[in-house]
Symmetry: C2
Subunit: 273 residues, 2 copies
Amino acid sequence: MIRRSVDWVWPENFRVGAADRGLAYGDGLFETLRLIDSQPILLELHFKRLLAGARHLGLACDRQLLAQWWQELVRRLRAQGLDNGVVKLILTRGSGGRGYRPPASPRLTVITSFHPVPPLPGDGGVATVLCRTRMHATMGGFKTLNRLEQVQASAELPADAYEGLMLDHAGRLTEGTRTNLFLIDEQGLVSPPTASLAVNGVMRTALMQLLPSAGIPVREQCLQWDRVRRGRGLILVNSVSGIVEVRRIGCLELPSDSRVATIRRLSKQAFGL
Amino acid sequence: MIRRSVDWVWPENFRVGAADRGLAYGDGLFETLRLIDSQPILLELHFKRLLAGARHLGLACDRQLLAQWWQELVRRLRAQGLDNGVVKLILTRGSGGRGYRPPASPRLTVITSFHPVPPLPGDGGVATVLCRTRMHATMGGFKTLNRLEQVQASAELPADAYEGLMLDHAGRLTEGTRTNLFLIDEQGLVSPPTASLAVNGVMRTALMQLLPSAGIPVREQCLQWDRVRRGRGLILVNSVSGIVEVRRIGCLELPSDSRVATIRRLSKQAFGL
């Protein structure tokens, strides 16, 4: 890799400088990308979100840098015979600057790691809990390295819960710790508004583009709790685990809706997940 | 150091594992401690805040660990002849866990670095600007590693501004990017309520304990903007730079109050800064 303004960190020497701003302030972004039979799932949407987040933070990450990264990644995956799993990419502003204030021309740090696919639930659906930790949409839905609310919420999960659901400051159901959610009602799907999200997931974006043209309308509306109780079902989505049906939130049992199977089929056809 | 559950990182080998949760999620805390003629300023308050933050995040950091750290720090400072400067301490949850979810028994990372004292303004006061980036008090005022709002606000600062002031979601003046603030009015000092702070600074805490007994009352009240305009002055405080008078916010000139000199004198007597 010849780009001089980047420090590349790969698994064989998986260390970073302790003055890195990613560590000091969470000054950076990340993506987790599923790989199925050597095919990256929703790669273009991952890249788009990363580039938009970089613009938001003022990080000099562009298409050329991502293309360089991808080329090197594919070479390494092939060399190691890795066809399936999860690739994690962290992009930080590197080190330097005066305190919080970023340096004028930072040398970015790009960190890559490979992971096995986490345990995936079957089609029968999952149990979740409602977390006490509230979430705040402070960074435009970008996947920044400031994720303490998700960490705190995750620490609340009992062993038998697949995911924790989070409310915003006004008590509205907004997202899971690592998933976005859609409520199912008579008319179709309902998602909390994009502006209310801590993380605007790429699988959510992909489904909002796909489903309306397949006859399943999607609206953005705030989800007060009584609406969830009256709903016909709830699904959790992300780009690693795909679409997961929620059958329980704490003691509240949720119905199963026949449209979930259709949504899953459409998603598999369109995105491979 | 014999404590097995801690990875100590010192300047001579200033690297951390790239899977550290401090980097991945900002899962940790930090303190910056001023050293004047070998005396640490407000050490006990720094330790108290760090321990309270560790309890909040569920990090197993206790007095014994801090005592170990302090002993080793003093030894190193003596060996290098460092009497003055700033010591930065970062405490992270180390690596491990399943995604956001923390591991049951994390091995903490403790990172220490030494820095020169940043440029300090004279007693004549400073110019500041009002930042567009808003602040959110989401983590109990603890000094966590989730500091992107401060980074974003700092990036707004023009070269001639000493500090950027931040408003909360409701447009109330709440703190600086690296300082807490007190408004001066007829009755004494006014500070934004503790619960509204992104960082509850140790110098703020120290002054709130000290000043009332010296005849300068301190109240906690929300600071609407018109209140700042009608005020008699504004000071910024932190434990590295001490007490700094604000003479300007953007185009708004602020008056200078004779009580600032008294407050500065009381602080120097009591805390050495």
